[in-house]
């Protein structure tokens, strides 16, 4: 289905490139700023290309701040959240997709309404709960809080995906002697791999980017700080070392941008299949 575009193909390509360049400029600027020597940051007019890139800004960053600690905390939290959310949502989504459950409709509704909860409200009682269970300052507080808020959306996405798979597959497996739990692990999950990838990506991205839960539950414990908390702390009230903070930002964004680039097509598919129904 070829459409002759009204703009003509040269104009189209130009528009696309210019648009992308404009929209992604801040990311470029982050990289440029990180590599500038501190004195150049105050230059006027600003340099668009670093003539004297300071590659040791990264070493600088690691020296002055416990960046590696922040990084490893964030990775641990992101993985734990992803696994926990996936485990819970897979089971729930499968149940909602395959079974006519009483209260299933109500639960489905609840799942959607929990997307509208302001987390800033939730942290007040959660703070009290975590304090009494000694979880304040522990990475698990963020993992549990995050996972619970991610599960509803993941369940919705996965249910949409499972709905596209014919139930006869599992019926055939049951007749073949597979246990019901076995059908989920041997048949449904392998076939639903793209949908799982999308959901995992979503959980990972959301968890990596969290700031609120970290700021609320982990501030008191230096050892538990996450990347986002760390970077926010580098923005001083009066003085900020912009090149250093940009270097940190690069390191905080690269992993997630990579994950995004690899799995984006699954996300679009997952969102689309979940939203079209």
């Amino acid at each position: 289905m070829e459409k002759r575009h009204p703009l003509g193909s040269f104009a189209l390509y130009t528009t696309v490139i210019v648009t992308c360049a404009l929209l992604l400029f801040p990311i470029y600027w982050m990289v440029v700023t990180a590599l500038q020597p501190a004195s150049n940051l105050r230059s006027y007019p600003p340099q668009f290309w670093p003539e004297d890139p300071q590659w040791n800004v990264f070493a600088d960053l690691l020296e002055k701040h416990p960046f590696v600690l922040w990084f490893s905390n964030t990775i641990l939290i992101a993985f734990a959240t992803m696994i926990l959310s996936l485990a819970v949502s897979i089971l729930a989504a499968y149940a909602l997709s395959r079974f006519r459950l009483r209260g299933g409709q109500g639960l489905g509704l609840f799942i959607l309404t929990s997307k509208m909860l302001p987390a800033t409200l939730l942290i007040i009682p959660l703070f009290a709960i975590f304090r009494s269970t000694g979880l304040v300052g522990s990475l698990w507080s963020v993992v549990i809080a995050q996972a619970t808020l991610i599960v509803p959306f993941c369940t919705w996405m996965l249910k949409g995906y499972f709905d596209t798979m014919p139930p006869e597959l599992e019926q055939a497996a049951l007749v073949d002697g597979c246990s019901p739990l076995g059908t989920i692990f041997r048949i449904v999950l392998p076939v639903a791999a793209p949908g799982l990838a999308a959901t995992a990506l979503y959980a990972f991205v959301v968890s990596w980017s969290d700031f609120l839960f970290g700021r609320t539950f982990l501030t008191t414990n230096d050892e538990s700080w996450t990347l986002q908390m760390g970077i926010a702390s580098l923005k001083g009230e009066f003085v900020t070392e912009w090149n250093v903070i940009m270097a940190g930002s690069i390191m905080a964004s690269i992993p997630i941008i990579i994950v995004y680039l690899f799995l984006e097509r699954f996300l679009v598919g997952g969102l689309a299949s979940g939203s079209e129904k």
Binding site: E168, L169, Q171, A172, A173, L174, V175, I187, V191
Partner: protein, 373 residues
Amino acid sequence: MATVRFDHIKKSYGAVEAIRDFNLDIEDGEFCVFVGPSGCGKSTALKMLAGLEATSGGSISIGGRDVTELGPGKRDIAMVFQNYALYPHMSVRKNIGFGLKMHGMAAREINAKVEEAARVLELTPYLDRKPRALSGGQRQRVALGRAIVREPKAFLMDEPLSNLDAKLRVQTRSEIVKLQKRLGVTTIYVTHDQTEALTMADKIVVMKGGVIQQVGSAEELFHAPNNIFVAGFIGSPGMNFFHGTVEPGADGPVTRFGDAEIALPERCAAMAGRDMIFGIRPEHLRVSDTGPAVGLTLVENLGTEKILHFHTPAQNTLELDSTALAGEEERDAQTMLIRVIDDRRYSDSEQLNLSFPVDKIHVFDPDTNEVVG
């Protein structure tokens, strides 16, 4: 001994009774076909037999063992689905061997059995392909392979041919029958196509609205249907129906058809004065020199076989709504068909005389819709 028995099986969804009091005995090695229009409950009955649906009452036995409370994997059955349900992420080899693996068979044994099944079904060159690289017919054979390799007590098949094109369907039909005869496994087969039922089955179970209408061989159902529904459902093109008042005639009971009288079977004498429903198959109507005259409205010429259409005389036309045939859109009560095989040429609007062989007339009670006598 792999007999199958349905004992007073019931299935309700809330207040709706989908299946009521289903009783059936299937012999060891029999090819039994459940046939009926959509919504008649045949698939539900099969699913209950498979253990994929719970029963609301009654019991099911396979090989003498009560399996009603057992899961599908424990009933020693194998199933072929309409859309094959092959595991897309596994090779043909793994697909076929999956059931054996689930039952704990050793890998070497599994391999041997899979190769054997593949040989029987001519799938050997495809063993390491994935289902998406196969044609419809090949996928169907993989589904069959998955079933036969388990050597179960019964095969269950849910409209396995519906997704194939017409030519492949006819070819695969006979292959399935040959396979079943060779393996001797009790088979329960569900279809909405009565031709499949007639050509494949040892025993046919005609269903409508969750109730068994009649059980019998193709012969029995064709020549001695129990009620109007079975009479009209079995056979293609379907039986002609008309009604008339039974009158006593010189040589026995007669009724008026169009401008003449036709003789009725002797047992109709007891119904003198009543308006009854009659049926006669297009292949049994004869073109003759005497008898009611009709004008042809359409001639379908298939070579030596021809289907002749004519208008049912007004006074004999059946009011469909009041019979068991109500709701069947394809049935046109105002037209009747004759099937002839000869070298004579027929033309539209030609006038013909018909004879109604008395032993081929079926008589139905209009109140019960059942056959009389």
